[in-house]
Symmetry: C2
Subunit: 204 residues, 2 copies
Amino acid sequence: MTNIEDPGSNKHFGSPPATVTPAKSTPAETGVRNQTAGTGFGVPGILRRWRREDLIKRGYLGLRGLSLLFSLLSFIIMASNKHGDWRQFDKYEEYRYLLAIGILGTIYTGLQAWRQVQELYTGKNLFRHQTSALVDFFGDQIMAYLFISAASSAVPLTNRMREGADNIFTDSSAASISMGFLAFLCLALSAMVSGYKLSTQSYV
Amino acid sequence: MTNIEDPGSNKHFGSPPATVTPAKSTPAETGVRNQTAGTGFGVPGILRRWRREDLIKRGYLGLRGLSLLFSLLSFIIMASNKHGDWRQFDKYEEYRYLLAIGILGTIYTGLQAWRQVQELYTGKNLFRHQTSALVDFFGDQIMAYLFISAASSAVPLTNRMREGADNIFTDSSAASISMGFLAFLCLALSAMVSGYKLSTQSYV
């Protein structure tokens, strides 16, 4: 799964066998190492890279799971927020917007989590690597923007209602908004990881 | 400014002079080329890379200018939106929020544009490359989130007001919100370019 395409490692293993001594380095190489701090050369560099990619992979799956959880909670809490009279979520456009984004987010993160778990267990990929990196990055980024937009638009209405009355309807709305914000945070982090994967094409 | 650290070009120019024939390629090299499609090898590859980096550089400066323009417009239109009685922006928290983000966005994009123009003309850099890439990416991304949050929160209030009365106050609010959304779009694109720069460290 992980292929090592470090420019530095190519340089080492491409040279004749007599010079493969990762512990020693010429002055020119030291200059290059200082310049691209963080990637590293030779065996320790590769090991560091593997460890970093492993961490990213596990963190990425965790973020997907959390996004799914939070968007599901946001959607369920808002959908069950009907208490008769004026305390019905479907009388307010802000709450309907948050519900719609909650449903969309649940479907998107559910499909993504299902695809990732499947890829992890079967080893087969649904899309080509480059396509899937593009889909991940744009999908995560757009869902993050939609979630922060929906949650922000619902905040002022809830604030104004709570000035008058503080009941189960406003509390449920506030809970749904909070879950929306948490889903936004997870998706924003996940978009950053996707962007890193897209630009390095490291196939983590 | 632009340093060429293509893994492939290293391979070409690192080999003995007798084999430097970019037009021909061994079967092994063709495999590598297919694998990393888009970067390319040899002189045409380097030229393509230069052209792409030049395009990104100019587009990036243009995006900065547009972000500055739109956030300035959003801030000025909202700040001058006082028409007496209930038609004053400072009576509504959504509009105050949009004004605050407009001011913050104007200051941020103004400083960034000033720094970039200075770097372009003097050739000197205020920060180290890695630091400036980090500041660019996180700054742009956070400002984009703030702008979409502020603009979305102000939309429902304006909608509700326009149902009752359609006057200069609601029109100015709508204009300010639109400018906020345009500033968000420019900043989101700019964050994508910053993210690309950050992960490739190509120093464009």
